[in-house]
Every structure is written in structure tokens, then in C-alpha cells.
């Protein structure tokens, strides 16, 4: 029986052998690069550029030279997804330059948080750094898992290289304290993809203008977005207006709703943490009704439990004229191998609300150093972050597909022209806003997920009832956690 069990393995080996019959892309690229480099020798302009790069590399080496030599490998924990692969490539560059190996350990999203927090509860030293969710800040800081990076970020002048909004949400805790615990690494937030082939079709434009009295273009306000979603919802043609987040699991529907909530000028709580009268304010009610209207009228079928993957699937299948998603998942939409509409897919920033407020729900992560590792390892980790934060490396990071938060890079021609969604991303990075990041965020999240799910997806009750329930229950939790002064 054991022999028989080996068959599949043999089969895989066989397939691998067949697959390897021929040159690998890596080999060819290496050969080609040699040729190209020879050509470059003639091209003075490129030579100059190369020199500049070398200078940058030397500088980088200087940074590295100041680092302790005992540590020759570093481990970073992150979730299992493409950006972590890109970070691994950055890590490989670091190894080439400094000899310090960097391993990015990737854990599936579903267990990423569980693994990290259980490891931290045991004061584990398996990882030197973690690229952790912004929401973890409170929990991790109050429990002492993260090293205080305030001095490192401020005196090392790292804090001023990233956009202020990302510094606040990825690094600062408590909010407003100017104490920093992470380096904003993967900037991310919600934006929108749209079908330019539909939006730029003269017939559609004429029909839209006739019906709504203003020209059809990527929406600038939520009101316009809803109009357009209605306009493009044509079940008979298999087309719906907008694909949005509805998943009950973890935080998806809350993230999606925040895009309207914040842009309608509302928030989860007052500055002194009281949710009553804030999350159930009139603006918030309007925001929720808008989100529900989008779900009712314009969400493609089968999207009652939808998050980034389902939204992209709906867009790729041609069912959605517009799609809300994290920028991290937009590269798939400009890849013609994945998305048949890739050539005509455009992107826009989360639109503004009736009061002119404009915010986008935050995703993404900051890189923190674990406090339980030895001082030498902490030092070596800081060295890596210091190196990683340099504009050259941040450019490299962006070129690989990572989402930099570096202001200079975000504003550079190179970055803005790199992909069709980068301009929208750069703008979004200035308007991001986040959910709670205090230790009890998980409990708050469960409440909002449940109430929002019941109202938006299941259609129970009214927006006011749902938000009143959230306000009441959040108040209880915050009070129990001593977050609200009596």
C-alpha cells in the first residue's frame, strides 16, 4: 500500500521533470541581463544612472556597516499574500548588500493574527519583526509586545518620510500621543475600480446625462456613485452597478461601510470615546442607508458574503461596473491574463460625502520590532528598517508591487506612471481613516459586523435601529474597558 501511496509523489516528480525540460526564465533573464549590461556600457545616460544607484548602494552599505555583526539572519512574520513575496525579494537585496539574511514567514490570513498573538503571549522569540495590522497596535502596545520606535522614528527622521495619515494609523498609539511603534510598510486602503469601456461609451454618456442631468464620469461624490450604480444595474444584460464588501467574517462589512461612514462626516465615537450620538448620528444613518441601497439595488447576485476575492471575481466576470476593493488587490485587475477588461479598467478615489468630507477605510500594515528578542537582534532589526525606509529602497519596494507610504516616492513621476491605479493610491494615502485600534477592538468589531450584516444583507430593521444598537453595545464595552470617563 505504501508503494501505491508513492505514486502521486512520483507523478508530481515526473510533471516537474517535464516542466523543467527547457530553460527556466531565470536562466534566460540572467543571460539576457549580461548582454544588456554590455550594451549599457555605451549608453552614457544609463551609466550615470547606474553610478547614482551605486552611490545609493554604498550609502546603504554604510548604514549596514553601523549595524552589529553578530546577527546574520532576521525573521519577519507577515500574512501569506503577494506583498509578502515582494518583501522577501527586498530581503534578498538586503542579504546581498549586507550579508544578513532576511526570511519572511508567511502565515495564512485566517490564522495570522492568532499565530502572532499566541506567540506573543508566550513571549516568543521566533520572529524578530512583524508586519502587523493597524488594529493590533493597542493590544500589542499595552501588552508590551512591540518595541518603542518613537526615538528611532523621530531622530532617525523616518517619521517625516511617510505621509502623516499613515504615520497616525500604522504607527501611533495611543492616537495623538506622538509615540510610534511601527514603520508604515504596506500602505493600503479602499479605492474603486470601474469599467472605462462603459463609462466612456458615448451612448452611455448621452443616456446618463439625459437621465441624471450631469455628465457620466468617475463619481466624485457618493450621490453620483449611487446614481451611476443604479444606471448600470441591468440584470437582463448581466450587469450590476457596484460590487461591495458584505462578508460577515472578521471585519469586511465594517470596512466597506466605513467608506461611506467617514465620508459622510460621521465617526465611530467622539474624541473622548463616547459612541452615543456619534455612530448613531443622522450623518451615520444616511451613510448606512446609502450603503444598504447600494447592496439592495446594485450588488451582483451571490455577493452576500463578499470580500476582496469575491469583489474581484465579480468584476472579472463582467458583472460589476464599479468595484470597491483594497489597492493591494488591484494589480490583478490590470493583468489581462486575469481580467478580460484589464485594458479598459480605470480607478478612482473613494468619493466625498454630502458635507465634503472624504476618507477611505484603511487596510495595510506597519512593521514592528518584537520586544522579547535580544538587544542585538533588536538593533539588527532597526538597522533593516532604517535601510528599508530609504527612498531608493522604497522606490524598489514600489517597483516590485509593494505599496509604499513614502511621500517622496508617492509624489514621484516614476510612481504615478507605474500603474493605472497608483495616482488614486497616492491621493488615497492622504485621506485614510481607520477603525478602533484599542485592545478591545475585536469585541467592538463583532458587534458592528453583526448589526451591519443584519441590516444590510439580511434586511432586518432600520439603519437607525442598527446604529442605535451598535452605539449602545459599544458604549457598554468601552465603559467596561475604562475607555470612557463617567
Amino acid at each position: 500500500m505504501l508503494k501505491r501511496m508513492m505514486w502521486p509523489l512520483l507523478l508530481i516528480l515526473l510533471v516537474a521533470l517535464v516542466a523543467c525540460g527547457g530553460q527556466t526564465a531565470e536562466e534566460i533573464l540572467e543571460e539576457e541581463t549580461d548582454v544588456v549590461e554590455e550594451d549599457d556600457a555605451v549608453d552614457t545616460a544609463e551609466e550615470a544612472e547606474e553610478e547614482a544607484q551605486e552611490v545609493a548602494e554604498e550609502e546603504a552599505e554604510e548604514v549596514a556597516a553601523a549595524c552589529p555583526g553578530d546577527v546574520d539572519e532576521l525573521t519577519i512574520l507577515w500574512a501569506q499574500w503577494d506583498p509578502a513575496d515582494y518583501l522577501q525579494q527586498i530581503g534578498n537585496m538586503y542579504e546581498q548588500e549586507t550579508g544578513v539574511a532576511v526570511e519572511v514567514v508567511q502565515e495564512p490570513w485566517g490564522s495570522f493574527g492568532d499565530l502572532f498573538f499566541t506567540e506573543m503571549a508566550a513571549q516568543g522569540t521566533s520572529y524578530d519583526m512583524v508586519v502587523g495590522d493597524s488594529q493590533w497596535l493597542g493590544q500589542s502596545v499595552t501588552q508590551g509586545h512591540y518595541l518603542d520606535l518613537t526615538e528611532f522614528m523621530v531622530e532617525g527622521e523616518l517619521a517625516e518620510t511617510v505621509t502623516p495619515a499613515t504615520l497616525t494609523y500604522y504607527a501611533e498609539y495611543p492616537t495623538g500621543s506622538e509615540q510610534y511603534w511601527a514603520f508604515p510598510t504596506e500602505g493600503d486602503a479602499n479605492g474603486w475600480a470601474y469599467r472605462a469601456d462603459l463609462f466612456e461609451d458615448p451612448d452611455e454618456q448621452a443616456a446618463f446625462e439625459e437621465e441624471y442631468g450631469y455628465p457620466l464620469a468617475p463619481p466624485e461624490t457618493w450621490e453620483q456613485l449611487v446614481d451611476m450604480a443604479h444606471f448600470f444595474t441591468r440584470p437582463d444584460e448581466g450587469l450590476w452597478g457596484a460590487a461591495i464588501y458584505t462578508q460577515a467574517d472578521y471585519d469586511a462589512i465594517t470596512m466597506g461601510f466605513q467608506n461611506t461612514l467617514f465620508s459622510y462626516g460621521a465617526d465611530w465615537a467622539s474624541p473622548d470615546n463616547d459612541p452615543r450620538g456619534v455612530i448613531n448620528s443622522e450623518d451615520a444613518v444616511n451613510a448606512l442607508e446609502t450603503y444598504r441601497e447600494l447592496y439592495e439595488c446594485c450588488q451582483p447576485p451571490g455577493m452576500s458574503n463578499a470580500f476582496f476575492s469575491e469583489v474581484n471575481d465579480a468584476f472579472i466576470s463582467g458583472q460589476a461596473a464599479m468595484a470597491m476593493n483594497y489597492f493591494a488587490f488591484f494589480p490583478a485587475l490590470i493583468n489581462p491574463d486575469i481580467n478580460p477588461y484589464a485594458e479598459t479598467t480605470g480607478f478612482f478615489v473613494n468619493p466625498e460625502g454630502p458635507t465634503g468630507a472624504q476618507h477611505a477605510a484603511l487596510g495595510g500594515q506597519g512593521m514592528s520590532v518584537i520586544s522579547y528578542i535580544s538587544p542585538e537582534r533588536q538593533e539588527a532589526s532597526l538597522c533593516f528598517i532604517d535601510w528599508f525606509a530609504q527612498p531608493e529602497i522604497q522606490t524598489e519596494w514600489a517597483a516590485l508591487g509593494g505599496f509604499t507610504t513614502n511621500q517622496e516616492v508617492l509624489e514621484s513621476e516614476f510612481f504615478l506612471n507605474q500603474t493605472p491605479f497608483n495616482p488614486a493610491f497616492a491621493e488615497t494615502m492622504t485621506i485614510v481613516k481607520d477603525f478602533w485600534n484599542i485592545p478591545v477592538f475585536g469585541e467592538l468589531l463583532v458587534i458592528s459586523q453583526r448589526e451591519l450584516g443584519e441590516y444590510i444583507v439580511e434586511g432586518q430593521g432600520t439603519a437607525e435601529e442598527a446604529l442605535n444598537a451598535i452605539a449602545e453595545e459599544h458604549y457598554q464595552i468601552l465603559q467596561d474597558a475604562d475607555m470612557i470617563e463617567e
Partner: protein, 332 residues
């Protein structure tokens, strides 16, 4: 079931000997029954076929409307399953496209997705982990379970019902809650992320099933056989080995299949109690996130590849699984 011992001599009875089955009408029903079973098996397999189709679909094909049955198959899923890749810069992709015909098959497929293979994925490693852990724990739990079941069945064990219930109750506590204390314990004992720890855990997890199932099967075997053998000079162990084991083969086969399937597919503990070294394949397959979402073709390909060993084992054991216990066939 031992009460039928006295009712008469036990001869092996072949099907054709049965009066009600030689009748033409019975033959018709026999064929009809076969047809219904085959039809039901096909209906049950439709979702698996669908998965098979998905394994060879491109990302856009997976979400084509209506779902396609005939399409241009691609090996993307297999490539994504077995390799690690990096995104190619447009310039490099362009360069490679010019020399596409020199490329190996997998590299060409990766290139068509604008990617470059950087190395093998850890799927093969995880598959080997799965084989070690599921195989080891199945052997252990069936062996231990067989001994315990025999003892419970044949001996007068004080507090038997309570002990059996205790064994069963170990399965009743929801895994998500046991996982936290187990995690703490495994960390302390150094069993976290080890093959041995996982084999131990799955063995314990499956013991309740194996003990209960095998006891059910052994109960069916008349004890008179062993008693007769022991009168003939066999020891208890010999009687167990030579008389009970051959009779219990059906039960052992079924129990082996179930234990293996449970251990093979277990997800929650594997996710909680392993990380790099001993992680099995299910958490790897189920969480494959590709370019901008769930990589359906790779998950389907992985799931089906992962299914093959189970099917092979089941098929190899099918004769035992389906064999009737022919009483009286023992020639001693």
C-alpha cells in the same frame, strides 16, 4: 448477535442459493438497483467533476457566465500550486516573450501570467508531512483501538460503560476551545510544530472513533469461536490473532479508512499547532491566495491531488470494506 448460534448449522451461503434471487423479477430488480446506484454515484460526483474542471480553468474562466464545461484548458493551477513565483517587470516579460519557445513548459505558463518561477512551492513538503502524520496516527490509533476494543468486548472490565463514555467524550469538546490549552501545553512540552506532536494528537483524536467502531465490529463476532479455539490449546493472544483478526477485517478496513480521512483532512489543529516544520497540506491548500483573490484553479488542483492517496487507500481496501462476514467459513 451471538444468539443465533443455536439456530442451526452455519454453512457458507452463496447469493444464488437464495430462493428470492434466482427469480427473473429479482434479477430485473438487481439490475435496476445497480443502475440507480451508478446514477446516484454520478450525481454525488458532480461537484467533484466541477472541481476537476476548475483545476484547469484560468482565473477569468472560473467566473465565466454561465459556468463553462468546455473551455481551453490551462495548467496554470498546477503551476501555481507547485511553484513560487515573482511578478515580472514589463521589460523582462517582453524579453522573455521573444524567446518563449526556449522556455520550459512551467516557465512558459508562468510567463503567460506575467510571472517568473523563483522556486518550488512548499506543497510537496506539506504533502509529505501529511503522509507521515496521517499515516502514523492512523496506524497508531487503529492498533491501539483494536486492542482496547477487543478487551472491552471480551473481558469483564469494571466500569466499562463509563470508560467507554470517557473515551467518546474526548471527542465532544469543540476543537476550537481545546486548541488553546493544547497550544499552551504543546509549547511547554516542545511538541509544537513537530511531527510527533501531530501524530500523537491525531491518534488521540481518532481513538474514540476506532475504539467505538471496532468494539461494534468485534461484538458481532461470536465469542464461541475463540472459546472453541482456546479449548483446542490456543492462548488468548493466539485466538485473538488467528480467529478474531481475520473476522474483524471488514471493521478494521472501515476504521482505517475513517481514521485516515479524518487525520488527512484535519484543518483547525494543524493551523493552530504547527507553523513551518510540521504543517500539513490542508491549511496550505485552503488558504492559497493568489493574484488579487482566491486562486481557484490552484486550490482545485491541490485538493484533487490531495484526494488521490485517500482514493487509492480506499480502493485498495475496498474488498475488505465490502466483504460480507461469512459465518462458518472458519475451518478449524
Amino acid at each position: 448477535m451471538a444468539s443465533f448460534e443455536e439456530t442451526g448449522p452455519r454453512h457458507p451461503v452463496t447469493e444464488s442459493a437464495r430462493v428470492d434471487q434466482v427469480h427473473p423479477r429479482a434479477r430485473f430488480f438487481h439490475n435496476l438497483r445497480a443502475l440507480i446506484v451508478i446514477a446516484l454515484a454520478i450525481v454525488g460526483l458532480i461537484p467533484v467533476f466541477a472541481m476537476g474542471l476548475t483545476a484547469f480553468k484560468s482565473r477569468a474562466e472560473v467566473v465565466s457566465i454561465p459556468p463553462s464545461v468546455v473551455f481551453d484548458p490551462t495548467l496554470e493551477g498546477v503551476v501555481f500550486l507547485l511553484t513560487e513565483r515573482a511578478q515580472l517587470s514589463p521589460a523582462n516579460a517582453e524579453r522573455l516573450r521573444e524567446v518563449e519557445d526556449q522556455l520550459a513548459l512551467f516557465d512558459r505558463i508562468a510567463l503567460s501570467a506575467g510571472q517568473q518561477i523563483t522556486g518550488p512551492s512548499d506543497f510537496a513538503e506539506r504533502l509529505i508531512n501529511s503522509i507521515i502524520i496521517a499515516g502514523g496516527s492512523t496506524i497508531a490509533s487503529v492498533t491501539l483501538g483494536l486492542f482496547a476494543a477487543y478487551a472491552f468486548s471480551r473481558f469483564d472490565v469494571p466500569g466499562e460503560d463509563d470508560l467507554l463514555f470517557f473515551i467518546l467524550s474526548t471527542r465532544m469538546l469543540p476543537a476550537v476551545v481545546v486548541a488553546v490549552p493544547l497550544f499552551l501545553m504543546y509549547r511547554q512540552l516542545g511538541l509544537f510544530d513537530t511531527h510527533f506532536g501531530m501524530i500523537l494528537l491525531y491518534t488521540v483524536f481518532n481513538l474514540s472513533l476506532t475504539v467505538w467502531l471496532l468494539k461494534g465490529f468485534i461484538d458481532e463476532i461470536p465469542r464461541e469461536y475463540e472459546e472453541a479455539a482456546m479449548v483446542d490449546g490456543y492462548s488468548r493472544l493466539q485466538a485473538f490473532y488467528k480467529i478474531v483478526l481475520p473476522q474483524a477485517v471488514t471493521g478494521i478496513a472501515a476504521t482505517t479508512v475513517f481514521s485516515f480521512i479524518f487525520a488527512w483532512n484535519e484543518f483547525a489543529f494543524a493551523l493552530m499547532l504547527t507553523s513551518q516544520e510540521a504543517r500539513t497540506a490542508p491549511p496550505t491548500i485552503a488558504t492559497m491566495l493568489g493574484r488579487g483573490g482566491i486562486e481557484w484553479s490552484a486550490i482545485a488542483a491541490g485538493t484533487l491531488a490531495f484526494l488521490i492517496p485517500v482514493i487509492i487507500i480506499t480502493f485498495a481496501l475496498r474488498r475488505h470494506l465490502l466483504r460480507g462476514v461469512t459465518f462458518g467459513a472458519i475451518r478449524q
